[in-house]
């Protein structure tokens, strides 16, 4: 029985140099299941003529196909043509012994998409990685420019604050969540609530109103009405959702994309079917009291994008910890790690590596 296969298309802009299963890779019996604990490091080469800014690998287990799948995304890459770079995949697969096998490897890793420095994209995009990789790259450019400006101005105090030094209270709270498509129906104790709205002044799409149903630690079928304030047709939109619990705490729940066409000055409704069930990292339920939504990013029909500026977020009505959560892009997280471990000189050197 093969545990892992890695396969890329022949015309893919990346090629597999090698992959190795780490020493900690094990298979054991857990209850009535086989537990496969797999730790692998893939060594990939940029086989294209352009710099790679990000990629998404699709991870599929035959026991879960077609219902479930997974992916590993590495944004904020800066891999020049011919350059070799590593990507780690750590996973655990639990499969009951009575599950029939279909042949082939238990886990298969393939390519879902690659984003280049000119924002062009390669890949089947089954997991919508083009959208997410593009937003990550736009945020990365925004944040690199901001940090370069702070360094150029010699504003180290602000830089330290942005890198989260001495501000442990801004650590965003961890939450666990499940997304259910076929939940238990309830017997009348659901509570309808209005969705509170956070507006960014420069956003091309404005929220008009919204509603959801709350049941204990579940938010059911949230929806919002949107108006396109720009002169361009909107093609895709991503909404951010914030959760308020009965103890008065706020949590950034996540981003939900919607493929929706809204012509200039027109209005449309975005609805999420399914149920979001929330819990603390400890497993105890978060009793939901209310939800807030905001427009996180917009893709226009002409291929242009809008993301909130750092000023948009800083000047919003969100509380400080939520602003911090929202403003911390993957690139900021990576740069902060460089700054913490290797200092200002290393950060400056890293920022200079990027042409844009």
């Amino acid at each position: 029985m093969r545990w892992l296969d890695v396969e890329f298309p022949h015309d893919a802009p990346i090629s597999l140099v090698s992959f190795s299963l780490g020493d900690s890779t094990t298979a054991s019996v857990r209850g009535t299941s086989l537990a496969l604990d797999l730790h692998t490091s893939l060594t990939l080469r940029n086989a294209s003529g352009k710099s790679i800014r990000g990629l998404t690998l699709s991870v599929e287990a035959q026991d879960l196909t077609p219902s479930g799948r997974a992916s590993v995304t590495v944004p904020s890459l800066n891999a020049a043509p011919g350059e070799i770079f590593p990507v780690r995949v750590d996973l655990e697969l639990l499969r009951p012994f009575n599950t029939p096998r279909n042949g082939g490897a238990l886990v298969q890793v393939t390519l879902d998409g690659v984003l280049f420095d000119d924002l062009s994209f390669y890949g089947p995009d089954k997991l919508h990685s083009r959208r997410s990789l593009t937003v990550y790259e736009l945020e990365a450019r925004r944040d690199r420019q901001y940090f370069q400006r702070l360094i150029a101005q010699g504003n180290t105090a602000k830089l330290r604050e942005e890198m989260n030094f001495g501000l442990p209270e801004f650590q965003s709270p961890q939450l666990g969540l499940e997304l259910l498509h076929d939940p238990r129906s309830t017997t009348g104790s659901e509570r309808p609530v209005s969705v509170a709205i956070v507006s960014f002044p420069d956003a091309p799409v404005q929220m008009v109103n919204g509603a959801a149903t709350i049941y204990k630690n579940e938010v059911r079928t949230p929806h919002v009405d949107l108006r396109n304030r720009s002169a361009k047709t909107v093609q895709n939109i991503e909404m951010g959702w914030i959760l308020h619990d009965q103890g008065g705490s706020d949590f950034m729940a996540g981003l939900l994309p919607a493929h929706i066409q809204i012509r200039p000055v027109q209005q449309a409704r975005v609805q999420e079917n399914g149920v979001l069930r929330f819990s603390h990292a400890s497993g105890s339920p978060i009793l939901v009291d209310g939800v807030t939504a905001f427009v996180s990013n917009v893709e226009f029909e002409d291929g242009n994008w809008w993301i909130p500026s750092r000023n948009d977020i800083s000047n919003s009505t969100l509380d400080a910890s939520l602003k911090r959560t929202l403003i911390t892009s993957p690139e900021q997280q990576r740069l902060a790690e460089i700054y913490r471990r290797r200092g200002l000189t290393a950060l400056t050197t890293e920022l200079k590596k990027f042409g844009k």
């Binding site: 026991d63 995304t73 780690r88 750590d90 997304l179 498509h181 981003l255």
Partner: protein, 209 residues
Amino acid sequence: MNSRKSGGHPRVEALALFARGDLAWFERRPIMYHVRYCAECEHEVEQFRASLEELRRGASAGLPPALEPAGDWSRIEREMTGNINVGVAASRCIEKVGSRRLRGWRGPAVIAGLAIVFVAGWFLNMPHSDTARILSALHSAWGGIQPRNGTVVQATSKGVAVRAQGAMLTLLHPGATDVTVSVNGAGSVGARYVDDETGQVTIASVYGQ
């Protein structure tokens, strides 16, 4: 299993008994509450139930002689029905013997006492699954609750996981200290962290359909 002991989860033996419905009601309640909100334990319970179902299927298809008694559910049912009938007959005998003294308030008191003994005996001895089936059937008659039956994506302390068709795939973030969990799209949950070895920011996501 070590993490189960240290992480505030019920012991695996208790989960096995819970899955079979063999726990007393006062032991069952806290575990039922825990399992409702702990995906890991819920998965464990589902696995035990799947095995039980497998065993039952095996029983109906013909078991090895050593396992035959466990699979003969109808014989056990007949024995239990017989025991209940004996109990009812005995109570009637007692009623006849003391018929004069049981008039007035004593009659209802004895009936109430027997009812308490019966209810206590039921909950202490009858498998919870049988009780649940009966209650579920009664509940369905008044409008019902649908069982949960779908793909579940979730964030746990060690990663993000997708559970479907009895299997579970978890993308781990070993050694990561600052992990940000969020819903990344319809039916998708992601965990973002900086990989300790490569220094790359990595986003592990799972998707349910």
